[in-house]
Amino acid sequence: MTYIPISPTERDAMLKTVGVKSLDDLFDAVPQKHRFPELDLPPALTEMEAASLLNEMATTNENVREHLISFLGAGAYNHYIPSVVDHILRRGEFYTAYTPYQPEISQGTLQAIFEYQSLMTNLTGMEVSNASHYDGATAAAEAVSLAFAQFRGKRKKIVLSPSLHPQYREVITTYSQGMGLEQAGKDADLEGGADALTSLIDENTALVIVQYPDFFGRIYDYTKLVEAAHAKGALVCIVANPTAMVMLKTPAEMGADVVVGEAQPFGIPLWYGGPYLGFFTTKKSYVHKMAGRLIGETVDNRGQRSYVLTLTAREQHIKRERATSNICSNQGLLALASAVYMSTLGKTGLSQVANLCYQKAHYAASELSKIDGFGLCFSDPFFHEFVLCCPKPASEVNDYLLEHGILGGYDLGKDYPALENHILMAFTEMNSKQEIDTLVEVLKEME
């Protein structure tokens, strides 16, 4: 079926107004030999058939609510999403609107995103938040662009923590191909914590990127590292988990210049990896170098408080090749999702989520390390993820767990050859004690 609301009679009347005989006559400018190709696609389905087909495809998957007990995180987390969130997202006024270029008839989106910006600055402690990036990884890559621009391309080095999410490192590498940057830090000591990078920072360093909690779930206070970076004139970007920030010291208190991350844990389903929500916050002094849209408060000509897209001169549609980034569409609707999530849970609900994540992970860590051959890889404080050291390769442990209906965790051997026997495990409020006990029981019986 199609969604075309024009009857054959109306079509003919319209063709007459245009002055052509048939629909095909509208395409004379298209080279004749390539005009009207036969497309080899399956025949059209009705809505009923499409609903059935898609349902069949979806049920072929094993999902983490109905089939599998999941301890898999590594950048995407299974959290409870209050019902309210999707009810608001499903309002056509929000999801079928365009980018709010016409503020008089877009105040809903504009105020909601302004509130999202405010929620993110209050959470991170930073001064400014943009209206979003594609995801945490691209937000981190945009932090590199900001630093590169800040030093007018003269500082040619970035220092990336070895415990930065490996996919974020890959995306930064892809994004920065045109900048001629040297990357340092990948081989730094994994046990060295926050200080392992200090010796790599020099006067040629534009940006240092660390993760908080780091990819292995460890919590570090980066204050000294930030001081050391600032002493060399370099900027520091902290890639932070929003749930953890509810509980932990803010990156702003540590002196970070840019705080970015993945806000998927805040009201966005796992959705097989996307769309998610990259947040980007910084200090006011860098606002002109920041990529992405920004919403500011103003008044209308009736004296009403209102909101508009502002500082658009940084953006591609004005500045073209000299823009801070080429970003245009961002994650508007998902910024709204996270704003509704934060508002609905509020200060109390969010604190409960963070505490549950922490408690479940620590209970699991304590029980798992009692099993012969298993143990925690690191002794540092952690939030809701930790590295479990196993008696055999992680891939074999995960295969064994999957046979028992358990998604074990992230096989670290894929990215860190020295950690072949290590699994990164994540715990959220969704994991009951019973699920954790099942995991422990199943692992006890592993041969």
Binding site: A13, T17, V20, G92, L345, Q359
Partner: protein, 495 residues
């Protein structure tokens, strides 16, 4: 003090008020980390669920949307967003699958992605498609990276020039700029085509390629597109197609057949993924044979062949000379790919052709109705959109005034002041999902506004009048830079 129409979520907060709460912990208590590692305060709002629902419902009513009415934004393809897509993308099997699950447990997702890659290849005539890019501009950046990698792999280091027509979207030069390429602007001729002489003069062995939107932002299908492509290819350049305007071409012509090397799709334009008030979009990229090896990693492919008994196994592969990863995980699966898949499955080959034919009919119909009242600077059969001038002889009325006045007639304005090569541009794209009555009413409103411009220009200068908000002071916003709000200063004592 400005009047507050709706307080912010922070202003609505009240100390101690509860919304959705979490169950008590069912595991033995562990002490929190050292106090030095904890935050001292959490200045976030406290509301009841009903407060939140009323707040966002009220905000939603300040928005104009496709569900409200006609949204003729040029180059944005604001077509109707089918409701079934909202259901399919929320099926539990899609919502609750983790991007790092073993491939054996997510074959449904992978089959969907594989088939969508194949369908987009068929629709566009390209040899390969990546679904990874998150939006159109992200797709463009992906494409430009592949163009750069292609030349580099051939040891051709002197190519630093990107040719871009003057009618191009701003994202094109911005994408080229992200790789440090210099942009050479190619003018349009009097029929809205790329000026072939100027193009020939710019073509040399320093050309990376050309980024062309076809139909362009004037809504014109380039009458010499094959010559344009030949000129660029003869000097060793690659042809980039900006797929923003693909809604004019489904079943009409395949950019790959014309000789384009790379093109991004905007699933949120052509394939009905809703715009969401500014995203998320989804920007897959198609490439010709010679760019296949450079596609971003990973792609979906059959990793183990099937037989009579076993289905094939779908998984991820990395192209040989891949430019790398564009984002974490696999693209905008749930919000973008599932919706677009549903849409294409429901249209089939004939339905897709209908989309473009009716999109083009609607644009030409509106153009015909407005010709005579508004100047159409490039006046020939247009594709899915056209550009009119929002100004009148001897009047100080501007495109902005017309746009704002349209709101009083309950229409979203067209794109204005773009493309830059038309004075006071009003760029109108009706899409195929509008009926004749709507188009007639819209044309009547524009004709009435042209009359008002003569008889009562202040009505336009001060428009809109009937919307919940009037014109904004944008200078104040940029000067004062109030970019966020907080809980009131005396918040804790409010109880």
């Amino acid at each position: 003090m400005a009047t507050i129409v709706e307080p912010t979520i922070f202003e609505l907060s009240s100390p101690g008020r509860l919304g959705v709460t979490m169950p008590a912990s069912d595991v033995p208590q562990t002490d929190l980390p050292d106090k030095n590692l904890l935050r001292s305060e959490l200045p976030l709002p406290e509301l009841a669920e009903v407060d939140v629902v009323r707040h966002y419902t009220k905000l939603s009513k300040f928005n104009y949307s496709v569900d409200d009415g006609f949204y003729p934004l040029g180059s944005c393809t604001m077509k109707y967003n089918p409701k079934i897509n909202e259901d399919t993308c929320r099926l539990p099997g899609f919502l609750y699958t983790h991007p790092l699950q073993p491939i054996e447990t997510v074959q449904g997702n992978l089959v969907l992605m594989y088939e969508l890659q194949e369908w987009l290849k068929e629709i566009s005539g390209f040899a390969g498609v990546t679904l990874q890019p998150a939006a159109g501009a992200h797709g463009e950046f992906t494409g430009v990276l592949m163009m750069a990698a292609y030349h580099k792999s051939r040891g051709d280091a002197k190519r630093t020039k990107m040719l871009i027509p003057d009618a191009a979207h701003g994202t094109n030069p911005a994408s080229a700029g992200m790789l440090g390429f210099s942009v050479v602007t190619i003018p349009s001729d009097e029929r809205g085509n790329v000026d072939l002489k100027a193009l020939a003069a710019a073509c040399d062995d320093t050309v990376v390629g050309m980024m062309v939107t076809n139909p362009n932002t004037l809504g014109m299908f380039d009458e010499h597109i094959e010559e344009v492509i030949k000129l660029v290819k003869d000097c060793g350049g690659l042809m980039y197609g900006d797929g923003a305007n693909l809604n004019a071409l489904l079943g009409i012509v395949r950019p790959g057949d014309l000789g384009f090397d790379v093109m991004h799709f905007n699933l949120h334009k052509t394939f009905s993924v809703p715009h969401g008030g500014g995203g998320p979009g989804s920007g897959p990229v198609g490439v010709s044979e010679r760019l296949l090896d450079f596609l971003p990693s990973p792609l979906v492919d059959i990793v183990e062949d099937g037989d009579d008994v076993m289905e094939p196994l779908y998984g991820f592969v990395t192209p040989k000379k891949s430019i790398g990863r564009m984002k974490a995980f696999h693209g905008h699966f749930g919000g973008g790919l599932v919706r677009a898949y549903t849409y294409i499955a429901m249209h089939g080959p004939e339905g897709l052709k209908d989309i473009s034919q009716y999109a083009v009919l609607n644009a030409n119909y509106l153009q015909a109705k407005l010709r005579g009242t508004y100047t159409i600077p490039y006046d020939r059969i247009c594709m899915h959109e056209f550009v009119a001038e929002g100004r009148f002889e001897g009047s100080d009325i501007r495109a902005l005034d017309i746009a704002k006045r349209l709101m009083d007639y309950k229409f979203h304005p067209p794109t204005n002041y773009f493309p830059l090569i038309v004075h006071e541009a009003l760029m109108i794209e009706p899409t195929e999902t509008e009926n004749k009555d709507t188009l007639d009413r819209f044309a009547d409103a524009l004709i009435k506004i042209a009359e008002e411009a003569k008889t009562n220009p202040d009505l336009l200068h001060n428009a809109p009048h009937t919307t919940p908000f009037g014109r904004m002071d944008e200078v104040k916003a940029a000067r004062e830079l109030v970019l966020c709000c907080w809980l009131p200063e005396n918040y804790e004592s409010l109880t």
